[in-house]
Amino acid sequence: MTSTDTSDAAADTLQGGPRRGRVRTARRGVPLPLLLPALIGLAFLLLPLIALLLRAPWSTLPDQLTSAEVWQALRLSLVCATAATAVSLVIGVPLAWLLARADFPGRGFVRALVTLPLVLPPVVGGVALLLALGRNGVVGQWLDSWFGITLPFTTAGVVVAETFVAMPFLVISVEGTLRAADPRYEEAATTLGASRFTAFRRVTLPLIAPGIAAGAVLAWARALGEFGATITFAGNFPGRTQTMPLAVYLALQNNPEAAIALSLVLLAVSIAVLAGLRDRWMTAP
């Protein structure tokens, strides 16, 4: 008994042992008070999804999914979520930098304001957007009379609504990464003749790329599932503003089976995209 033990250990250290050894100690090291709630948490998150799969109308699924409207809504969802993520990156990353690196009075307050869309019910967010950017909105009336731009009931409006709801996720994530990143790299860059912007672009941005990627994925996922702000601000018109979550909600009104089928499509596409991105971006050391 003892002899086999020692020979095992010897084999471990001799042939590719470190990795196996690490896995073994990791498993042994998880304390029960952590493991148990962790498993409950996992089950809690997965159970509704499993239920969705179990109750899915698999036999009629092909019929449910062949309609042009489904693919139209899916395409619109993907396009709008990606556009909203792009907009979030362009204006959200500089905002995160400002919050993390610039020193100005009331910074904590501004940071709290940025997270406000996270706690605001999305429908309220949609109403707020209407009041701001609608045809009669505080800013929207000028957009309309000066440039002839009206956002409600347009695809651009969907992007605006999704950006409003999703961008805080990106900002929070990037700001956290920036805070953790060593600001002295920026200093080193300036002593080499880089302006603060060059230092940001050529040094900070590559350094926080993993954080930006994580934030972008979060924002994208949030935008993809966005419902309340979208339907309130942009309305619901197939092909123009009817994204997948809207289609699911309306299908739920009179055809729950179709709603489940649509949800499955949205779920499958999200999992495919997120898994793909994770492999490419987020596993880098």
Binding site: T190, T191, P206
Partner: protein
Amino acid sequence: MTNTHAAAADGAEPPQGPPAPNHESGTGGAGGKTNPAEGRVPTTHPHPKTHRTPDGLDAHLVVNRTTFRLDIKLTAAPGDVVALLGPNGAGKTTALRALAGLVPLTAGHLRLDGAELDRTPPESRPVGVVFQDYLLFPHLTALDNIAFGPRCQGATKAASRAQAAEWLARMGLTEHATAKPRHLSGGQSQRVALARALATSPRLLLLDEPLAALDARTRLEVRAQLRRHLAEFEAVAVLVTHDPLDAMVLADRLVVIEDGRAVQEGTPSDIARHPRTDYIAQLVGLNLYKGHADGHTVRLDIGPAITTTEILSGPAFVAFPPSAVTLFRDPPTGSSARNHWRCEVAGLETHGDQIRADLTGELPLAADLTTVAAAELDLHPGAPVWATVKATQTHAYPA
């Protein structure tokens, strides 16, 4: 005689242990700084504060922090290597950051080659910095790290890369051009960081604890290389260190900083022989006392007197190395030493094959002895001993 204090104190006089001798003769004439003990003492030491040349560095750095104030004057001619030496928290790094423009001056001035730099942002200063942990950009290769500066100064991508390649060759790192910093050893990283700073052709090179991040063996090698590169550098170099050996080997002139102020300034040998504070005395491994001299005797402020060979009068310092101390179990009767004090062992510490005894009593002092001697004397904390020092081994100088 190869313990630390000896190396530090002796090293000041002929500090050129590591570099190749033929190299020294080659650059010795141009900069004259490879032989600081002889060449520099008369020219730079006497009046550094009033000595102002249009070229080089002329700075009065005042930085106020909530709990701390830095106020030092610093001048250096092109080719000078100045070391800021001091304990942690003394303000060395703050001084360096002020020179680089990373910390604004509260007051004072900063002129480099006659140009006012007080209000110049760091990116516009002709200053290169080697940071303590190098801060090589982890996402760029060694080559691109070095090319970063020239690129920011407006060189084309190709030109800055060619320049970087030259620097890599000069540093002997050509084969590591495409390596990312995490694949470089400490010594290699140090050289890349130095090349990166030098590639911008700075008129002021700043080095923050350039050897602190290295292990003891690499350190010796890198120190020698760094000394060679600094000797070749034609503008002002300022380095910050808490290691007296680094400071003495690398610099022509030391500025000792304590609590934000320059407490002593001079050539390494001068400072090693005439320490003016306990901190420096400890650094260079000397027992230092302040007192009042009258002929061959210096009456110390703390009580006892020491007989010296020098003839002085007025306030004076007396210094002697721990190795000059001899210990006895019984009161020395036949000994020729006139300086003997009754002490008690407070602590023992091994230094290589030597033992350093920390003594309290009539005269608190440090004494070095062999392990055999320590065993014969049956030394242990609390043991009473008699300490003697020959007058010829003490060194007295005016305070």
